[in-house]
């Protein structure tokens, strides 16, 4: 009888071994600056691997989880508007509206595009939130056509109306507002960073917001020569980076993101001497290489950083973080 009880107890407990989650650990979310020596056990197949996070703040558990996740699809969406991300479902769209929007989509004459959008938005069958959705598309199209003024006008109009909209649409609005705010500026401010953060908070599955949150960290804080709290900075930067790679820890995706970052920052990290910005960029490349199991790139990163000037901000912490990932 006792044996039966033991077996039963085992049976009940066996399925409860939870699948690994690639999300940031709750405790770490609560206090990013905390440094503690923790021992954690991570299951990889039949093996339990002991990881000690002594004085390192990068979420190793999350990296291992993403390595395992690889190129598989996640819930994170790449669409440029909430509707394309299928994060929100509004009332059915009349065919006339769909026709006008398709025309606006292929035309490359700005005036014509706005005429089609205007015709679509004034369709009497539309609900108020649908009109906002079309205005958001209009602002997106204006930005595609490199017409910042019109995009700002559309956004201002939407804000003035203050129609209550679902969160993902509000996320789009915040994101476009932030994009417009940083347009053409090299130095971004904490206010811009806050806007991108708000956009992401409104729709956590919005991939572009995740990438721009990483970019805005680099633009806002990455060029600072003196960093007082390195562990907090490393924790925040690595969190934002792993938020991006969580979408798909795939070499191709990582390559695209790296390319976008280099273009936006106008900085090729391995060219010429290390600067504070390049140090952070290379750290990011190292983390992405780890996530995608790209050992050649990872060793290039560690050897490049090894030759860096010790006065670069957080270099020692970054190198020890990377070293701890190789253990």
């Amino acid at each position: 009888m006792m044996l039966r009880g033991v077996i039963l107890a085992f049976l009940v407990s066996a399925p409860s071994i939870a699948a690994a989650q690639c999300k940031q650990a709750e405790a770490q979310e609560a206090d990013k600056s905390e440094i503690s020596i923790k021992t954690e056990w991570v299951r990889v197949g039949l093996q339990w691997i002991k990881t000690t996070s002594s004085q390192t703040v990068v979420d190793k558990k999350r990296i291992i989880c993403q390595q395992k996740q690889g190129c598989s699809e996640t819930q994170i969406k790449f669409g440029d508007t909430a509707l394309m991300r299928q994060s929100v479902d509004l009332e059915p769209w009349p065919e006339a509206v769909r026709r006008k929007l398709a025309a606006a989509n292929i035309s490359d004459d700005a005036g014509q595009v706005y005429d089609f959008l205007q015709a679509a938005a004034t369709n009497p069958e539309l609900e108020a939130s649908q009109v906002v959705a079309i205005e958001l598309i209009a602002a997106t199209f204006a930005l595609q056509l490199n017409d910042q003024n019109t995009a700002s006008e559309f956004l201002a109009k939407m804000k003035a109306k203050a129609t209550p909209v679902p969160d993902p649409l509000a996320a789009d609005m915040k994101f476009l507002e932030a994009l417009l705010s940083v347009h053409g500026r090299k130095a971004w401010t904490k206010e811009d960073d806050r806007l991108f953060g708000e956009a992401l908070a409104l729709d956590p599955d919005y991939f572009s917001a995740r990438v721009y949150r990483l970019l805005s960290w680099l633009q806002t804080y990455g060029r600072t020569a003196v960093v007082t709290n390195c562990s907090a900075s490393v924790a925040e930067f690595s969190k934002r980076l792993l938020d991006v790679s969580e979408a798909s820890a795939c070499p191709l995706m990582v390559g695209h993101v790296d390319h976008v970052l280099q273009r936006e920052l106008q900085s090729k990290p391995f060219d010429a001497d290390l600067t504070p910005l390049k140090t952070w960029q290379i750290f990011g490349i190292g983390l992405m290489a780890k996530v995608t199991n790209n050992e050649p790139v990872f060793s290039r990163v560690t050897s490049h950083l090894a030759g860096g000037d010790a006065s670069l901000p957080c270099l020692s912490q970054i190198t020890s973080e990377l070293a701890s990932l190789s253990e």
Partner: protein, 217 residues
């Protein structure tokens, strides 16, 4: 005595049963985990009859592109404004030689659509043509070195449908033109011209256009 034996064997059977289930569960549970997740590797040689109206790469704001047809060294840039007007007015071209059909999307985004173009490459309608560039022809020095007369800044991405013909198109010349005019080329090869003399291709956009598989390749 018999009763006791029966009880013991009942216990044995149930223990054996539970052990079997346990063994099964343990193996099922632990064997699944270490397997690498299936990696969907999109093939670059995949043939498709539909082309996304957005480029196959990720950016926060997708780039708008132009479309052209390459037939016997004639590169015909499509007049997208003209086609858009026909589409918006519900007056798409419907002739024997060339026609277009529009299917609205059914998804949550009103921007989803599919526009099918069926065209006779040797006999394109006037309203669809913006400009014809003869590639590979010696350049007229009076016109300047580069035949980039169209607005390159707005259409730096050019999708070119290459239509098979007896005279093989000069792809090298096409690449040179793209290089000179700073264009990103997206060549799409049309496999065959049908008996009616038409070729076809659909231009589409839907939520699927933004999947990782489509964008990161």
């Amino acid at each position: 005595m018999h009763e006791e034996e029966d009880q013991t064997s009942a216990v044995d059977v149930s223990i054996a049963f539970f052990i079997c289930v346990t063994v099964l569960l343990v193996f099922v549970k632990f064997n699944v985990a270490p397997e690498q997740p299936d990696r969907q590797v999109p093939s670059l040689g995949e043939a498709a009859d539909i082309v996304e109206s957005v480029p196959s790469t990720w950016s926060a704001l997708s780039k708008r592109g132009g479309f052209a047809i390459l037939y016997e060294n004639n590169l015909t840039l499509l007049n997208l404004n003209g086609i858009a007007t026909e589409l918006a007015d519900d007056a798409l071209l419907s002739e024997d030689a060339n026609y277009a059909t529009f299917s609205p999307g059914t998804g949550s985004s009103p921007r989803e659509f599919q526009l099918r173009l069926a065209f006779s490459p040797a006999n394109l309608p006037e309203s669809w043509v913006r400009e014809i560039i003869v590639i590979g022809a010696p350049l007229d020095p009076a016109l300047g070195a580069v035949p980039c007369s169209w607005d390159v800044s707005q259409r730096s991405l050019l999708t070119v449908w290459i239509v098979p013909s007896d005279q093989e198109p000069d792809v090298n010349a096409l690449m040179q033109l793209a290089g000179k005019c700073n264009l990103s080329l997206r060549p799409q090869i049309i496999r065959a011209v049908s008996d009616s003399g038409r070729s076809g291709w659909a231009l589409a956009l839907n939520a699927d256009s933004y999947t990782a598989k489509k964008m990161f390749r």
